[in-house]
């Protein structure tokens, strides 16, 4: 996307661009590329935050607000629609997409949570969201292993929604992240079983599953290797602005992990976080 030395200027406001004269189009396209890479970077950061049981809340909130801001601007100038369209056509057979769409729709209908993070104000919003969700899978999948993982993760996302639907009590809700380990068991075939409304008993059942499940560490490693490469790709893509000392991909992961580096602290990749919002953002817009 970016060649080395590409001038990056984020301080330009979107409005200014439309007022640019002859070079306007070129500037605008480079601006949107920059904005896109900023969005990518933010989403990766969010995803890494999201893996921690207790991310730095201030940082997560600021990054999420940045994503929201970029999204708003992209929605405003229509590029958001283009992004989702592009993903829609990116190497996915229509039939596959259709199946997933149906599944996602159903699960979404079930959780009655207010949709804070509406993608765009257009009709058939749900369908577009689904496309984006589908993209989340199709784009980030790198191998079959992570494919299984990601599918599991999605199942778990719906689970969360259901959980939060049940547990209005805040403290219980916070504790419910305990149940997050279960998604190792869930793969695409199991989705149907996760869709039914859960009783509290079932929620507790997940605790047991978690305890008995094979160690999350292997899944974690795979996940990290996946993130590594993607971050690295992004990194090379962004070489236009490497003047400041920067962290290597591994440093970044190190710094995100708790200081003592025991794998258990990082917890399962799909652990429950208080920020349901981040879930939604990830569901909706990852994949660019």
């Amino acid at each position: 996307m970016f060649s080395k030395g590409t001038k990056r200027k984020f301080s330009d406001g979107g409005e200014e661009i439309s007022e640019e004269g002859l070079v306007g189009a070129r500037v605008a396209s480079s601006y949107s590329l920059q904005r896109q890479s900023l969005l990518d970077m933010s989403l990766i950061k969010l995803q890494l935050c999201h893996m921690l049981v207790e991310p730095n809340l201030c940082r997560s909130v600021l990054i999420a607000n940045t994503v929201r801001q970029i999204q708003e601007e992209m929605t405003h100038d229509g590029s958001w629609h283009m992004v989702t369209e592009a993903f829609c056509n990116a190497g996915q057979s229509p039939s596959e997409r259709l199946v997933a769409t149906e599944v996602l729709c159903r699960s979404r209908e079930q959780d009655a949570e207010p949709k804070v993070f509406s993608v765009i104000s257009y009709e058939g919003c749900r369908e577009e969201e689904v496309v984006a969700d589908e993209t989340l899978c199709s784009v980030s999948v790198r191998d079959t292993v992570s494919n299984v993982y990601l599918a599991g993760r999605m199942g778990q996302c719906w689970e969360k929604n259901e959980l939060s639907g049940i547990e209005r009590d805040e403290e219980v809700l916070e504790d419910s992240r305990l149940g997050s380990g279960e998604d190792e068991e869930i793969n695409t075939e199991d989705e149907a079983s996760t869709e039914g409304p859960k009783t509290i008993g079932q929620v507790f059942g997940t605790f047991e599953i978690k305890n008995g499940s094979p160690g999350p560490d292997s899944a974690l490693e795979e996940l990290f290797s996946d993130v590594d490469t993607s971050y690295y790709d992004l990194d090379t893509m962004l070489t236009g602005m490497q003047s400041a000392p920067k962290m290597g991909p591994y440093d970044l992961l190190d710094s995100l992990g708790p200081s003592h580096g025991s794998p258990s602290i990082v917890s399962t990749p799909n652990c429950r976080s208080d920020l349901n919002e981040l879930d939604h953002i990830m569901e909706i817009i990852v994949g660019s």
Binding site: A64, Q69, P114, E170, R177, L178, M247, N276
Partner: protein, 443 residues
């Protein structure tokens, strides 16, 4: 504003190999007590090191008031929350001294979840001549006790003891970022990302929630509390700052739950500087009342601002700490430096303010003369007892001698924590695992 680096650099790693600094040695907070006699540091390893100022001696005038290690203790240990399957770091986030009321000293230290009250006291005598036990503390056989004697206190080498007196736990779901002792000396507050709790210093099993900004639905969360502090004289007044760049002043007399502020300090955004990073760089990392209680100082990523308590619409003064970073925000976002939490401090007379920057640089701003200076805390570039040379960062164009270009700044060497003696010109600057103490030139 030239300072002499009087005290030699006190390396916190005295406990271990001098050249081997671990993550645990990184200093995470610095605080003078109310007389300035003691200086406490906390580190990522959960230790607290207290330094005491040496008595002045006539025959060594250059050793005026050096700070030496007085006591070292492990304040917090790493813990594991089994319910949440979560490790609680031992890192000391803040230290606050209580005003001294007897021979002993008391301080509060906190990590992410738990506040502890420590008593630091001296002992230079020990009782000798017990009847029922011998000198080693073993119980004596009663049949051998044939006479009674009066135990006596014998002088011994000075021993400094640190003992935990209270543990204030289980009140915070999120990470504690601030603690502040009230001017009534009976209560203190602890602040996490979404809530502020009020404690009585004597009562550990109960606290009162005085601010709660947690939305019912966490998806709606867009703002967090970043710091909070009590007014230095009015025990009912406190302020807290937010990640959106605003400061709220609350009056506890108004209601038990201070969700409604009495004053709201916020500066409208400058449209010419608008970018995707506007909100991140306006997030307030520290808020401090002036000693007089008339002003507030806030630090955001690029500036430090002084507010008059009587003017909410805009700050009285704005000082640029490192404006040359404005063009580097994207890189700083990428390497996460943009989320660094710089603190700020007042001098004793509220006329000078100090805050940190990168490359081991720290900045001082004289509010009266409007002069500012950039100084460097580094072992390589300043020798003990040498006068600190002002440093200059050059922005673009030609770099002059003695200047450092923006591109060669070391962003891993950041000065986040500094402290100023309550009434003398002595400052303590924490640069990763080193503590530097500078003071005014000795005449």
């Amino acid at each position: 504003m030239e300072e002499e680096s009087d005290s030699r650099k006190i390396n916190n790693s005295f406990l271990r190999d001098h050249n081997y600094a671990t993550e645990a040695d990184i200093i995470s907070t610095v605080e003078f007590n109310s007389t300035g006699e003691l200086l406490a540091t906390g580190d990522k390893g959960g230790r607290v090191v207290v330094f005491q100022r040496e008595q002045e001696s006539k025959n060594q005038p250059h050793r005026r008031g050096e700070y030496n290690v007085y006591s070292t203790f492990q304040s917090h240990e790493p813990e594991f929350d089994y319910l949440k399957s979560l490790e609680i770091e031992e890192k000391i986030n803040k230290i606050r001294w209580l005003p001294q009321q007897n021979a002993a000293y008391f301080l509060l230290s906190t990590n992410d979840k738990t506040v502890k009250l420590w008593k630091i006291s001296e002992r230079d005598k020990r009782p000798e001549g017990y009847n029922l036990k011998d000198e080693d503390g073993r119980i004596r056989d009663p049949s051998t006790i044939t006479s009674l004697r009066v135990p006596v206190l014998q002088p011994m080498d000075l021993m400094v003891e640190a003992m935990p007196r209270r543990v204030f736990s289980n009140a915070h779901t999120y990470h504690i970022n601030s603690i502040s002792v009230n001017s009534d000396y009976e209560t203190f507050m602890s602040t996490d990302d979404l809530r502020i709790n009020l404690w009585n210093l004597e009562i550990t099993n109960r606290s009162f929630n005085i601010v709660d900004i947690k939305p019912a639905n966490m998806e709606e969360l867009t703002e967090v509390i970043t710091a909070a502090e009590f007014h230095p004289h009015q025990c009912n007044t406190f302020v807290y700052s937010s990640s959106k760049g605003s400061i709220r002043l609350c009056d506890m007399r108004a209601s038990a739950l201070c969700d409604n502020h009495s004053k709201f300090f916020e500066e409208p955004e400058d449209p010419s500087n608008r970018s995707f990073f506007s909100e991140i760089i306006s997030s307030i990392s520290d808020v401090k009342f002036s000693h007089s209680g008339r002003y507030l100082m806030t630090r955001d990523y690029l500036t430090v601002k002084v507010w008059d308590l009587n003017m909410e619409s805009k700050p009285l003064e704005t000082y640029q700490v490192h404006d040359y970073l404005r063009s580097k925000l994207c890189s700083l976002y990428e390497n996460d430096c943009i989320f660094d939490k710089f603190e700020c401090v007042w001098n004793g007379s509220d006329s000078v303010i100090m805050t940190g920057s990168y490359n081991n640089f720290f900045r001082m701003f004289d509010r009266n003369t409007k002069r500012d200076v950039t100084l460097e805390a580094s072992r390589e570039n300043s020798k003990p007892r040498a006068i600190l040379k002002p440093r200059k960062v050059c922005v673009g164009g030609k770099r002059r001698k003695d200047e450092i270009s923006v591109d060669s700044l070391d962003f891993s060497k950041k000065i986040l924590h500094t402290a100023w003696h309550p009434y003398e010109n002595i400052i303590a600057v924490a640069a990763t695992n080193n503590l530097y103490i500078f003071q005014d030139k000795v005449n």
